[in-house]
């Protein structure tokens, strides 16, 4: 095996063991031919820009080291785990890589899983909220055993189709913890006085708080927290520029046995979202995907030569670029009634001139479609796209009249059944020019059928809260997460299963909390979607799964719980011309895909690391 030259000095100084000792006995050899990669060069700094300090978490997505992970084609493969044995879809045996080490050099073993299972998840103090959802099947947790230092076994009564996808999730679902590090903050393991000192020093109230704080791998805000990611945070937040240094113990190698990643350092500069396109245009980044939209394309393209980068367009993996989400749990009873009316939703959808929006906002580079799977998915049907989405204001008006919205005010606007003016307020998370533009066009369209649409930007987080409380009537956002879903992928997001879903937060919460919180769906189609999800969960037959998917998509196309507007709007990506191994075409998606994660950024390299980035 070969290690990066940048670490040679430390190895020589004896601060680091030689590369062979740093790698697991059986490292993950990345399949360069399958991915179409070239052998790269070591070194250099990759610069990127992010709008918020909390975006350090993106490096955890970017690094995408999971027990198992998706390939760009959406197939789950082992990664940190050497292999995973699945029996009956309910017994999972994870095999670790012997010799695998945390970024601080400590061994990574089943003890780390045990620590999580016993000292965190099931600890009376730390685990008060109960087990995370993917570990629950019908409300039951697994039986966990640790046969040896490199083997862990999870066993459920019934199949758990969510377990592996969760482990492969873009957001890390860590069922292990760096036990050696966290132990010092755990009352059961630590010296009480020493622990008290640490708690006081951090200004925390008690040790649970301290442990909770320091144990947030996804937040990626604790420089001391050991990790298995390719790059390790080296800058203490808060800062405006975060440096991530290569993990000397990273477990992947290229076909030549060179330890990955190629790139030594990732430097993430925090800049305001409004300024990022300008900075990108000025060549202040090597790989950029955030805070850029199609509207920046022309400008970015224009500066391509000067700033020595390429502007790429990756396909989007989302079911819909923008969709309207009526809130079925709106607090206002009249509005709730109205929004529950399928014809009302259909009327709204028919009233939208999608082609106009496509031309006016997206340069025609989009597809008018409802929120459903994309043509790239085996489940795609044109009808899912087209049903109720043809521009037909006359029919929309007819539908509205039919459900009794015939009263109008002086200006010709329709009134609510109780006589109030019908002001449909759509809330936007954060200021977003694209969304406001689209809404403005929709407002014009709605005007024509006698509905006044108003929109207002609210903070993303408070929108979430407003949705949950039913204060929001309608929100706007992007559509299905996994637009390229295959039958084996979970269809749960089609049904009210998550409290984070904007159209039915209370129903989602009800499902999430197994009926404890929230409210049961009162619309039959929603309940039907839940039932179908559960059927999908039970079956191991792929044909059956596909059938269930189709059925659910059909229900959504007909009932319009979300009103999709346009789909297939490409993601603009700017990449330095020195950056190699980044595919020209790709799918830019959060789940599955982890944005660049499944494309293995550790294989990216800088052609001339010394000159690049200067």
């Amino acid at each position: 095996f070969v290690g990066p030259p940048s670490l040679d000095a430390q190895v020589e100084a004896g601060k680091l063991p030689p590369v062979a000792e740093r790698l697991p006995t059986e490292p993950l050899v990345v399949d360069f031919t399958a991915l179409g990669r070239k052998i790269g060069k070591y070194g250099g700094t990759l610069r990127t820009l992010e709008p918020q300090v909390r975006d350090t978490r993106r490096m955890v997505v970017f690094g995408y080291s999971r027990l198992v992970g998706y390939t760009p084609d959406g197939v789950i493969e082992p990664d940190i785990a050497r292999s995973v044995d699945v029996e009956e879809g309910r017994i999972f045996t994870l095999h670790l890589r012997p010799g695998h080490r945390w970024s601080d050099g400590e061994p990574f073993t089943s003890e780390d899983f045990r620590y999580y299972w016993e000292d965190v998840a099931n600890d009376p103090d730390l685990g008060r909220n109960g087990l995370p959802r993917p570990l629950l099947v019908d409300g039951q947790g697994p039986k966990v055993s640790f046969p040896d230092a490199y083997t862990i076994r999870y066993e459920w009564e019934n199949p758990n189709p969510y377990f592996l996808p969760a482990l492969a999730g873009s957001m890390p679902f860590d069922i292990f913890r760096p036990a050696h590090y966290l132990r010092q903050f755990h009352a059961r393991h630590a010296e009480p006085e020493e622990l008290k000192r640490l708690v006081d020093k951090a200004g925390q109230r008690n040790w649970q708080a301290l442990h909770y704080r320091l144990d947030q791998a996804y937040k990626n805000a604790n420089v001391d927290l050991p990790t298995l990611e390719p790059w390790v945070l080296a800058t203490n937040p808060p800062a405006d520029r975060f440096v991530f240094k290569r993990n000397p113990y990273f477990h992947r190698v290229d076909p030549l046995g060179q330890q990955l990643p190629y790139i030594d350092t990732v430097a993430m500069t925090i800049a305001s979202a409004g300024l990022i396109p300008a900075m990108v245009g000025a060549g202040e980044t090597d790989l950029q995907s955030t805070a850029m939209t199609m509207s920046n394309y022309a400008f970015l393209k224009q500066a391509e030569q000067r700033s020595d980068y390429d502007v790429l367009r990756w396909k989007s993996g989302k079911g819909s670029r923008l969709a309207l989400f009526p809130n079925f749990n709106a607090a206002d009873p009249v509005w709730r009634q109205l929004l529950s009316e399928a014809d009302f939703r259909r009327a709204l959808s028919l009233a939208i001139n999608r082609d106009d929006i496509k031309e006016a906002v997206y340069y025609g580079l989009a597809r008018s479609c409802n929120d459903t799977v994309l043509p790239g998915s085996p489940l795609y049907q044109q009808a899912f796209c087209d049903q109720w989405t043809q521009y037909d204001p006359a029919q929309a008006e007819a539908l509205l009249d039919r459900i009794g919205l015939t009263e109008r005010d002086g200006a010709g606007m329709r009134l609510l059944p109780d006589g109030r003016p019908m002001n449909l307020v759509v809330e936007i998370a954060g200021e977003d020019g694209e969304q406001t533009d689209v809404l403005q066009l929709i407002a014009e369209d709605f005007q024509k059928i006698g509905i006044r649409l108003l929109f207002k930007a609210v903070e993303r987080d408070s929108l979430q809260a407003r949705l949950a409380s039913g204060a929001t009537l309608m929100s706007v956002g992007s559509g299905l997460e996994n637009g390229r879903a295959k039958p084996v992928d979970s269809p749960a997001e089609l049904a009210p299963t998550l409290s984070a879903q904007a159209q039915w937060p209370a129903w989602g919460l009800h499902y999430e909390s197994a009926g404890q919180l929230g409210a049961a769906p009162d619309l039959p189609f929603a309940q039907r979607l839940i039932d179908l999800t559960e059927e999908w969960q039970q079956t191991l037959d792929e044909q059956e799964k596909a059938r269930i998917w189709q059925q659910m998509l059909q229900i959504r196309a007909d009932e319009m719980p979300t009103i999709g507007i346009v789909a297939d709007v490409d993601q603009v990506i700017v990449a330095s011309r020195h950056l190699r191994n980044l595919p020209k075409d790709g799918v830019y998606n959060w789940e599955p895909g982890a944005f660049f994660g499944s494309y293995r950024p550790e294989t990216f390299f800088l052609e001339a690391p010394e000159v690049a980035g200067k």
């Binding site: 610069r47 918020q52 300090v53 909390r54 008060r128 909220n129 109960g130 995370p132 959802r133 957001m171 951090a202 200004g203 109230r205 649970q208 708080a209 909770y212 704080r213 996804y218 805000a221 800058t235 937040p237 808060p238 800062a239 405006d240 520029r241 440096v243 430097a267 500069t269 925090i270 800049a271 305001s272 409004g274 300024l275 300008a278 900075m279 000025a282 202040e284 903070e459 993303r460 987080d461 408070s462 929108l463 979430q464 809260a465 998550l498 409290s499 984070a500 919460l509 999430e512 909390s513 404890q516 919180l517 200067k614």
Partner: protein
């Protein structure tokens, strides 16, 4: 002297106390608290928010205590340099603000310096050359400064600075220097990056100050004691400098109190827009996420600057102007 300062300090402390209460209340005004924000974030990450979890987090953040207790324990820490705890960063506020404060102060002092360095000579120049083309031109330019929308100007200047001089866009230094030790190259980079923000933030203040200095000086030049000084055969430069400018300075000194806080709060939004590593962006995000102690402490810092500025300007005014020092009268 001491009595006066003592009295004023007392008044200042009371004012600050009132402001702290108001700030605390205002931060609480938007519905929800940091927990709402945080829960939403957790929810987005796929966690279920059970009642136990909410209770756990509430306890974690000390949000289970009644508001008055939260308030009192917050301000009780101030005399000891303990400004509470930032939820967002999981650190004591003092640690979070840390070196940002330095750059904030650097930016703001540079702006104040800019304002004074430009406003003074220009103001004097146009006052002496009243009603000339120079006067008209510079006055016009000053008004132009007042009328230009800051944000757009910032963007244009940033772009031009980059396109023409290769100054990297945004920030207060080239990103490469961010965590380097201070070297001359880094200092130069900081200077180059200061130009645009200082100009944008200071522009309207400068314009206003030129106008005022001009008006004051013109007034002062007409006063009998200036005529009398001429009759004594003193050279014109000395008359302007010693006999006219000095009394005309009063408004400037009383401005210190207003200028600094104005610039500081004016720089918040500009800082956000221009991505300056100052306290501005942090303040805004803290306010938005209701990270209340962090936001509150920032705001108290701003308020302190204002109040202290007013105190300092009063004292300086008295030190500089014997009329105030000796009779308590301003004119």
């Amino acid at each position: 002297m001491l009595r006066f300062i003592g009295y004023r300090t007392l008044v200042m402390l009371t004012t600050l106390l009132v402001i702290s209460l108001l700030v605390f209340v205002i931060i609480q005004l938007p519905p929800g608290d940091y927990l709402t924000t945080y829960m939403a974030e957790l929810q987005a990450e796929g966690e279920t928010n059970t009642a136990e979890k909410i209770a756990f987090l509430k306890e974690l953040y000390g949000l289970d205590r009644p508001l008055p207790v939260q308030y009192l324990s917050w301000i009780a820490g101030f005399p000891f340099g303990n400004f509470g705890y930032s939820f967002e960063y999981g650190l004591p506020v003092a640690d979070v603000i840390g070196d940002r404060l330095f750059l904030t102060l650097l930016l703001n002092f540079a702006t104040v310096l800019f304002v004074y360095l430009v406003a003074f000579p220009v103001g004097m120049f146009v006052a002496v050359r009243q009603h000339t083309l120079w006067d008209r031109g510079l006055t016009f330019a000053g008004y132009l400064g007042l009328a230009t929308p800051n944000f757009l100007l910032a963007l244009i200047l940033l772009y031009l600075a980059n396109a023409l001089f290769g100054v990297s866009i945004g920030g207060l230094m080239d990103p490469a220097y961010a965590d380097e030790p201070w070297t001359s190259a880094k200092i130069i980079s900081v200077m180059a990056h200061l130009v645009v923000p200082v100009f944008v933030i200071g522009l309207s203040g400068t314009a206003a100050m030129i106008q005022r200095l001009r008006a004051n000086l013109v007034d002062e030049l007409r006063r009998p004691h200036v005529v009398a000084a001429r009759a004594r055969g003193l050279p014109e430069r000395k008359i302007i400098r010693k006999y006219a400018l000095r009394p005309a300075l009063n408004p400037f000194i009383s401005d210190i109190g207003d200028l600094l806080p104005q610039i500081v709060s004016g720089s918040v939004l500009i800082s956000v827009i221009m991505s300056l590593p100052t306290t501005g962006p942090m303040l805004l995000s803290a306010l938005r996420s209701q990270d209340m102690y962090l936001a509150g402490s920032f705001l108290m810092f701003l308020a302190f600057l204002t109040v202290a500025g007013m105190l300092v300007s009063d004292i300086v005014l008295a030190l500089v102007d014997p009329r105030i020092r000796l009779t308590g009268q301003r004119r």
